[in-house]
């Protein structure tokens, strides 16, 4: 039984009559202790999926799903209060921009102590010690002094470490990291990622790593989910998904990586853009941009199929099914 089990999740914005589809028919399972990378271009629905998971989609957004359970508990029917209690305790999240994700009026210590007090309680002194310990765990030097620092006195990398400390404060079983390194300096990115993975290993928590950087995923994840325009295009294990991508989109993403373009004059790109809110193709969502698209791809939409255990693909003509194609 998976720790997180999502079946047929849809998130719509806009009006009932003219919905804007952010995510549709999304299936996602994450096992305990598993690292799952979610990749896709901007606007592919990665972040919306994670916000839906956290119950942070506000009106006019609408979330619906066949199954939406965490540790056997249905998140959609759970009373609000209980669901909230799970946030920060069982499921935690860190965001893209750490500099704006900390309240400018509160010190680092205020943030940590508040979160610990809400979920675990205890004496002020005990909470303070726990907070100090957490700062040490995220490798913040001189934690006692940092406790009194305000967010504007911290660097981006330092802020993200504080955000991570906040996220792991109550030993969550699933940590969602939404582009945790995108807003940071290149030099700190690797350090923060390494920290995240070390904490994941030590604590055996599941990690949902949302990113548009396939390189990061290749090095860290056990499994990859490729999203496009609100749909899952392909899921597969690492490294097979990188050596034998089944979906043309995955293949295109891989061939756009700089390391796969060594010796070429120009970087390969994917022509066109992600479909907008009101111009979603009738057939396969990728059809207008797909070099393999056939007539049937333009008229009917493929479903997610499982060619073999541990992988899924949404394509009528998957690649690499009987040996490499190209």
């Amino acid at each position: 039984m998976a720790l997180l089990d999502i079946k047929n999740l849809s998130v719509h914005f806009g009006t009932e009559a003219r919905p804007i589809i952010a995510v549709e028919h999304l299936d996602l399972q994450i096992d305990a202790g598993e690292v799952v990378g979610i990749v896709g271009e901007s606007g592919s629905g990665k972040s919306v999926t994670s916000l839906a998971l956290m119950g942070l989609i506000d009106a006019p957004g609408r979330v619906s799903a066949e199954s939406f359970s965490f540790d056997g508990r249905n998140l959609l029917t759970l009373p609000k209060r209980e669901r909230r209690a799970m946030l920060g305790r069982d499921i935690a999240m860190i965001f893209q921009d750490p500099m704006t994700s900390l309240n400018p009026c509160f010190t680092v210590g205020d943030h940590l102590i508040e979160t610990l007090a809400v979920h675990e309680g205890g004496s002020r002194k005990a909470l303070r010690n726990r907070a100090l310990e957490l700062l040490t765990q995220v490798e913040i030097p001189d934690p006692a002094r940092r406790m009194a620092a305000y967010p504007h006195q911290l660097s981006g990398g330092m802020s993200q470490r504080v955000m991570i400390a906040l996220a792991i404060a109550c030993n969550p079983r699933l940590l969602i990291a939404d582009e945790p390194t995108t807003a940071l300096d290149v030099t700190v990115q690797a350090q923060v990622l390494e920290l995240l993975l070390r904490l994941q290993r030590e604590r055996g928590m599941a990690l949902m790593l949302i990113t548009h950087d396939l390189g990061v995923v290749a090095e860290t994840a056990h499994r990859v989910v490729v999203m496009y325009a609100g749909q899952v295009m392909e899921t597969g294990k690492v490294p097979s998904i990188f050596t034998q991508p089944r979906h043309p989109y995955t293949e295109a993403l891989l061939s756009a990586l700089p390391e796969n373009n060594i010796g070429r004059e120009r970087l390969q790109t994917i022509p066109g853009v992600v479909p907008g809110a009101y111009d979603r193709p009738q057939g396969c969502l990728l059809a207008p941009r797909c070099q393999y698209a056939q007539e049937s791809c333009r008229t009917t939409r493929p479903t997610l199929a499982s060619p073999d255990a541990g992988s899924q693909v949404r394509c009528f003509f998957p690649l690499h099914t009987s040996g490499p194609k190209e």
């Binding site: 956290m54 209690a85 946030l87 009026c105 305000y150």
Partner: protein, 336 residues
Amino acid sequence: MISFFLRRLGVLIPTFLGITLLVFALIHMIPGDPVEAMSGERGMDSARHAQLMTEFGLNRPLPVQYVDYVFKAAKGDLGRSIVTQESVMREFLDRFPATFELSLCAITFALTIGIPAGIIAAFKRNSVVDYGVMGVSLAGYSMPIFWWALLLILFFSVQLGWTPVSGRIAVEYDPEVVTGLMLIDSLLSGEPGAFRSAASHLILPTIALGTIPLATLARMTRSAMLEVLGEDYVRAARARGLSPLRVLTRHALRNALIPVLTVIGLQVGTLLAGAILTETIFSWPGIGKWMVEAIHRRDYPVVQGGILLSATIVIAVNLIVDMLYGVVNPRIRHQR
């Protein structure tokens, strides 16, 4: 923090000197010379005219007169009223508590209703409640307060007979002046009816004077809250499982109140300006009524002094607000 205070003070000194210059110029910009202006249409023989010019020191060069004025003003000497021959400072201090009491009640009224209304409107954005709060506050913002005051009198005093029409307290009570604040003085007098009378006299002027600050605060609070509620740290706080109430009161409100605080500071000017109208209508013996009467009587020293002192109050309050701003906003506090 202290250096922050001193820096602010440093900026204010030229402003303050500018105001004294403006107020000083006021009396010299009046067509004719000041003595002529003071004497009005009655006219005056030239001997008396010359005597008064010497008496007021008006024959000296202007820069000398100005420096003299500033030094006297610094010592609290703002001259004497032409009409009553009373010291302007004395008259001001006698009347100020009445205006202070009324303004305090008005701003309390505005804060206790305006800020919660703005918060609720922001929280229930685009709901009936939001439209209601915004509609009422727009009307309040556009209200001519002298007319609003008359409507209040017409309805509550004339129609319903609930509240008195004018003054600070019924004539049968005459509590000894201790603080100058009628609510406190009437309590100290020990007469049970006195406090009730003082309070009932305050209700309508408070509403009349507090309406514009209330409307402004409700609008400002709403927009500040809306801005803050869309911030990343609010989303992050929710993602940590904090209750909506906690997110609203601890994380959002604290940040939203920073701009609102500035607006509260600006209301002091609105209150003093509004006091001119409110006090005239309710015969409230404060500095607003005092100044309007002084203008009608061409009592220029009073007008001069009143303007200078009002400006001083505005400047002082804004300095205090700046200080508070530093306290609530860590980013300002740590600026060096």
